[in-house]
């Protein structure tokens, strides 16, 4: 808009006025609007899907390499109706939730402690940072030796991946609370618990929720790896089992399911941010 206005010199503008009357502003060549842009953003992925389908149907893509999307959908339907898919999905989700709850709880508790107390920081923080330096997936062989290949090992790995992002962001959030607001709380006569409840935790919440979003991503990654290494049930088991029989349609299906659950988890985290941070100009939107 502004570019166009700049390119029309005063003389040309006069000409336009004379021809079309008072309302003759230069017309914009393209005007897509919000809906248009939204549709456009879906164009590439949908095209890709169609091309994939056509190539598979025409026999240019071997079904052993990459089955047609329609085949994957049919497989999904079949697996749901015969019962095993929903069961496996439930087991995977349960592992993720359990691991997230344990790891998140530990991360939040340690983060709060270290955020409030310099003594706790001196005692705990270095050790936590050292453990954090290990890519948590590298610990998997050791975890298997300790816990064997079972539920405990998978939940442990998820918890390990979740603890650190929550810990770091909780500590950071508490430290970043404006000291002037804490001082105000003291002037208004708040006790320590009230100070934490009314000022410090709300102030740390944006950072904590950022930690939750990171943690959701690592939790999912940990689960995929743990289930792929050795499992008798779950989505990962489904994929490894399908590999034995070259069922690429099932493998693709499990990959898609992992992706969808990742997207769903992120959507839940965003919803939480919108609800809990309605006051925040960057999250709450217009009001």
């Amino acid at each position: 808009m502004s570019n166009l206005e700049q390119t029309v010199s005063p003389v040309e503008f006069e000409d336009l006025k004379r021809k079309d009357g008072a309302a003759a502003l230069p017309r914009k060549p393209f005007e897509l609007g919000r809906r248009g842009l939204q549709l456009l953003s879906w164009l590439a992925p949908v095209t890709l899907l169609i091309v994939w389908e056509v190539l598979a149907q025409a026999g240019w893509l071997s079904p052993h390499v990459l089955p047609a999307p329609s085949k994957v959908v049919r497989t999904a339907f079949k697996l749901v109706t015969t019962g095993s898919l929903l069961n496996d999905l439930g087991i995977s989700l349960l592992r993720a939730v359990a691991g997230f709850a344990i790891g998140g709880g530990i991360g939040f508790a340690l983060g709060t402690l270290v955020g409030f107390s310099r003594i706790a920081e001196a005692a705990i923080d270095r050790s936590v940072q050292m453990i954090r330096a290990i890519p948590f997936l590298a610990a998997l062989p050791l975890v298997i030796v300790w816990l064997g290949v079972g539920e405990a090992e998978k939940i442990f790995l998820v918890a390990l991946g979740v603890t650190f992002p929550i810990y770091i962001n909780t500590t950071l959030g508490i430290r970043q609370v404006d000291p002037k607001l804490i001082e105000l709380g003291r002037i208004q006569g708040l006790g320590t618990l009230e100070l934490i409840r009314r000022i410090i935790l709300p102030g740390a919440l944006p950072s904590i929720l950022t930690g939750v979003r990171y943690a959701l991503a690592t939790a999912w990654l940990a689960l995929v790896v743990a289930e792929t290494i050795g499992a008798q049930s779950g989505i990962g088991f489904l994929a490894m089992d399908a590999r034995e029989f070259l069922r690429t349609d099932v493998i693709v299906l499990t990959i898609v399911i992992y992706a969808l659950i990742g997207v769903a988890a992120d959507a839940i985290a965003r919803l939480l941010e919108r609800r809990l941070l309605a006051w925040h100009p960057n999250y709450g939107g217009a009001r």
């Binding site: 709380g185 002037i187 208004q188 006569g189 000022i199 709300p202 102030g203 309605a278 006051w279």
Partner: protein, 239 residues
């Protein structure tokens, strides 16, 4: 480094400071300072930057320890700062009732907000307020506690000139109806003359000059005198 803050009894003045001393390391910021503010009295404190006036206010608020002397003040003076210090995550009424120990905090907050002209914004967020409105909420939050001593630390410094004039009127009204003792720390001589019953000039950690305002007639003379005390006119004359 002991706190000599003694709760004042009912009929006593709003605050009495005796021989106050405050030092940061070897640097003495406040030295043998004496000050008494009655209930309902509006005292303005002028002084150059770094003369110790904010240090005095923080000591009276109980925010900093003192190194000597005695402060007899109410247990919880109310403070309004240059920044509004509203909690961005709480609605206006929750901000105003912060720390208020009553059964009906919302009604109390509503009444206080109505007094500052924001009675229809109870559930709004602080981020939707202008600078002047936010400062009015901060005033409501201070006065809802029914303080015996109200400490104002340059509360109008960040506001535009017109908003500042409106705030002056509002503060005058509020102080007249609630009658706390007020200590206003400011850089603005005219603001001090407009609002205060008594104007103090602080220099090198002590009260160096005191002026009682006697209505608007004397304000021109007072202004020149005060500026001289602050070292402003003197330097102009020599230049």
């Amino acid at each position: 480094m002991t706190l000599h803050v003694v709760p004042s009894s009912v009929a006593s003045p709003a605050v009495v400071v005796t021989n106050l001393r405050r030092a940061y390391g070897s640097r003495i910021v406040i030295d043998k300072l004496n000050l008494r503010i009655e209930r309902g009295e509006f005292v303005a404190l002028l002084g150059e930057s770094g003369c110790g006036k904010t240090t005095l206010l923080r000591a009276l608020a109980g925010l900093d320890p003192i190194d000597g002397g005695r402060i007899v003040a109410p247990r919880r003076p109310a403070v309004v700062f240059q920044e509004h210090r509203l909690l961005p995550w709480d609605s206006l009424w929750r901000n105003v009732s912060l720390g208020l120990q009553v059964k009906d905090p919302r009604q109390r907050a509503a009444a206080a907000l109505a007094e500052v002209g924001l009675g229809d914004r109870l559930d709004d967020w602080p981020r939707n307020l202008s600078g002047g409105q936010a400062q009015r909420v901060a005033l409501a939050r201070a006065l809802v506690q029914q303080p015996e001593l109200l400490l104002l630390d340059e509360p109008f410094a960040a506001l535009d000139a017109l908003t500042r004039i409106r705030m002056h009127d509002l503060v005058r009204e509020l102080v007249a109806s609630h009658r706390p003792g007020v200590l206003l720390v400011t850089h603005d001589v005219d603001e001090a003359i407009t609002l205060a019953d008594r104007i103090l000039v602080m220099r090198e950690g002590r009260i160096a000059f005191e002026h009682r305002t006697k209505g608007d007639g004397a304000s021109r003379i007072a202004r020149a005198e005060l500026l001289t005390e602050l070292g402003v006119v003197a330097s102009h004359q020599t230049a």
